[in-house]
């Protein structure tokens, strides 16, 4: 059951049975969200699973009467940029922390880790002050600058890099490779799976980011998807649930695409040769 494929058929059947059972509970809300996008507003109060009258009105409304497409585009661009930035910088930092020796290494690690320990809710006002000083409010840069690197990504990659045998690296050093070269050519390929997992998680985190984008954006055209979707929930006037679900359904598509792009790499084994 561990890392090697079970040959026995019973083992396979049991595994499938367990997984299928769990599937129902896991998939149900997701399916319900999709189904609700096809319901007219009057049915939202009926608490049924399937729509009685299937309608495309919600999607039509989103695409024609709101800036949904723009929000979508903004979210895609920003999420991609941040993901690339995080992948690059986090891995560079992680490499230094995992495989290079220098005084203060542990201190810096704890320092970076500690940045995860203050809830972003409290950082939002200082960020706003900073951003407005530089005129970054209501710009793309203003939305993404807090997320270019993160202690989370550094931590993940450091852990995975720790698992790379030092012999490999020492050999490269002896061969005269530069540290950056070792980082780029030796270490990064070894952590492809962690990088892929991180890519998915960072993309997703950015895709769903809400609090800071709300504060950093003033104009409707610059809004990201979560901010745009929250416009449909207003005060006493009530929430337009069918619109929210339709928007959430469409919003999930790019994440699924990203997931499928990377999911193979996450689990692809790495053949390491030259190991003791």
């Amino acid at each position: 059951m561990v890392g090697t494929k079970t040959k026995s058929k019973t083992g396979q059947i049991i595994a499938h049975a367990i997984l299928m059972l769990g599937t129902i509970s896991v998939v149900f809300p997701f399916v319900w969200m999709i189904l609700t996008s096809f319901k007219p507003l009057s049915e939202i109060y009926e608490f049924s699973v399937f729509p009685k009258h299937w309608t495309l009105d919600n999607f039509k409304f989103l695409l024609e009467r709101t800036y949904f497409v723009r929000w979508f585009g903004n979210s895609v661009i920003l999420a991609v940029i941040v993901t690339i930035s995080e992948l690059f910088f986090n891995s560079l930092i992680a490499y230094a922390l995992a495989k290079m020796k220098f005084p203060g290494r542990n201190l810096i690690f704890i320092l970076i880790l500690s940045t995860l320990m203050v809830p972003t809710e409290m950082l939002v006002i200082p960020w706003y002050k900073l951003a407005s000083q530089f005129g970054w409010i209501d710009t793309y840069w203003g939305i993404i600058f807090p997320g270019l690197m993160s202690g989370f990504g550094v931590f993940l990659l450091r852990q995975f890099m720790l698992g790379i045998p030092n012999d490999l690296i020492d050999a490269a050093r002896i061969d005269g490779m530069s540290e950056f070269g070792i980082f780029w050519r030796v270490v990064l390929p070894q952590v492809k799976n962690a990088l892929s997992a991180l890519a998915v998680l960072v993309f997703l985190g950015n895709w769903n980011a809400y609090l800071w984008p709300v504060i950093a954006i003033n104009s409707d055209k610059l809004r990201t998807l979560p901010v745009g979707i929250s416009l449909f929930s207003a005060a006493d006037d009530g929430q337009q649930w069918t619109l929210i679900m339709a928007a959430s359904t469409l919003a999930v598509i790019p994440v699924i695409i990203v997931f499928f792009i990377f999911q193979r790499r996450i689990i692809e084994g790495i053949s390491i040769t030259g190991m003791k």
Partner: protein, 433 residues
């Protein structure tokens, strides 16, 4: 190697892209343009009909005032307060006029976000004679800081189909609270296992019944929620205990309704599962899609012909603290336009919120309007609650009612606890005023 080169290019493109895009901002600078045009910003929370109406109004205003440009920005309701709080930290991007819930005024004023309504726009006396009585509940040392276009009041909704089904006259809603209780008992259904299937009266704390208790029941029973200067909480008078007990017993003893039935009281009503609710004029929009026949009338009284009371609330427009000079002039002109009777009529027709001015409130045509009539008639006896800390006071109230509903606490003790908590909040607020 190919993959790595590709990765390097992607990274470079990303970095360059970022630098380029940082220039991609929406140019919304609130400055004076060279030709003497003044630009001001108006902020409100985003709700489709309001946004559209405001856009129309702005077009009209700009046509009549070509030297002023109004930029209209809106934000999701949940984050609106934080957005204002953040924006006030930054002198550059501040809005000139903000729309806010009346309950936020004390906080905003304390934080230094607002300036008093300038006399050139309207003096305090003019405000008090122009607007409906509930505006007087939100003054600070005799000064006003925000003016509404529209207000809301509470009225009584009932589901005519459910009435007819039970053999009651669907055109005769209950007139007194005792009648409400009697009808509610008839219209409440539980199934064999004790699950509530239909609620007679949509009792709740997190919705409007909180206000119903404080400004309607309490007063009709002979008490009042706060002292006239709002400093003292007076809910736990003898009349108060009685009103509280009567109201809570709808839930705990008669079981005609409860919090959390089908999510919230309004959803349950809209789903046709609750027969009667107390709700505001803002519910009318959602009822357009109702799949049943419903009616709305003024709130019941304690006895036939007894005192009428209702709760009123409003979103109002204020000028932010740092506005001066030409922008202040422009803001005054825009505000004047917003609170005119013409604007209010437009707002009523397009947004469905009832007007805030006395002239319109006393207009017989409006008072007899089939949809809005009950709400507009309520304007003359509506009270707006002065909240020292809106969220905190509501929390304190819910904690008390939860103690009764969940832990079976004694009514008097619970109400005393509520009063104590709210008194603390008010003492803190007024110690600085």
């Amino acid at each position: 190697m190919f993959k790595r080169k590709w990765a390097i290019w992607m990274a470079l493109i990303a970095l360059i892209g970022t630098l380029l895009l940082s220039g991609c901002s929406s140019k919304n600078s609130s400055g004076e343009d060279g030709d003497g045009q003044v630009t001001i910003r108006y902020w409100q929370y985003d709700y489709a009909s309001r946004v559209n109406a405001m856009n129309e109004l702005i077009k009209k205003f700009e046509a009549e005032n070509p030297d002023i440009k109004v930029i209209h920005e809106t934000f999701p309701y949940e984050q609106y307060q934080q957005k204002v709080a953040a924006a006030m930290q930054d002198k550059k991007n501040q809005p000139e006029i903000i729309n806010m819930y009346m309950g936020w005024e004390p906080k905003f004023i304390d934080q230094g976000f607002l300036q008093p309504i300038p006399d050139e726009l309207m003096t305090a006396e003019e405000i008090e004679s122009h607007f409906v009585p509930m505006i007087k509940d939100y003054q600070f040392d005799g000064k006003y800081y925000a003016l509404p276009i529209a207000v809301r009041t509470l009225a009584f909704f009932w589901n005519k189909d459910l009435f007819a089904e039970a053999g009651l006259d669907p055109e005769k809603p209950p007139q007194t609270w005792d009648e409400v209780l009697a009808v509610a008992k008839q219209l409440t259904k539980y199934d064999a296992s004790g699950t509530l299937q239909q609620s007679g009266y949509g009792w709740n704390v997190t919705g409007q019944d909180y206000h119903l208790f404080m400004q309607v029941l309490l007063r009709q029973w002979g008490g009042q929620p706060f002292s006239d200067d709002n400093r003292k909480v007076t809910m736990n008078s003898e009349a108060g205990y009685e009103a509280f007990k009567w109201w809570m017993e709808m839930n705990t003893v008669h079981k005609v309704g409860k919090e959390d039935f089908l999510g919230t009281y309004d959803k349950a009503f809209l789903a046709g599962k609750t027969a009667m609710i107390t709700d505001g004029s803002f519910r009318l929009g959602g009822l357009k899609d109702a799949t049943f026949n419903w009616g709305v009338t003024e709130l019941p009284t304690k006895t036939i012909g007894g005192e009428k009371h209702t709760f009123g609330s409003f979103f109002a427009n204020g000028i932010t603290a740092n506005v001066s000079g030409k922008k202040l002039e422009a803001s005054i002109r825009f505000l004047k336009f917003l609170i005119s009777d013409d604007t209010m009529r437009f707002w009523l027709e397009n947004v469905g919120e009832i007007p805030a001015s006395n002239t319109l409130a006393n207009d017989p045509a409006l008072q007899n309007d089939p949809k809005y009539g009950a709400f507009i008639r309520g304007l003359s006896y509506a009270h707006a609650t002065f909240f020292a800390d809106e969220a905190g006071e509501r929390d304190a109230f819910k904690l008390g009612t939860d103690e009764v509903v969940i832990n079976g606490a004694d009514y008097k003790a619970a109400l005393d606890q509520i009063v104590e908590s709210i008194q603390q909040i008010r003492d803190e607020y007024f110690s600085n005023h």
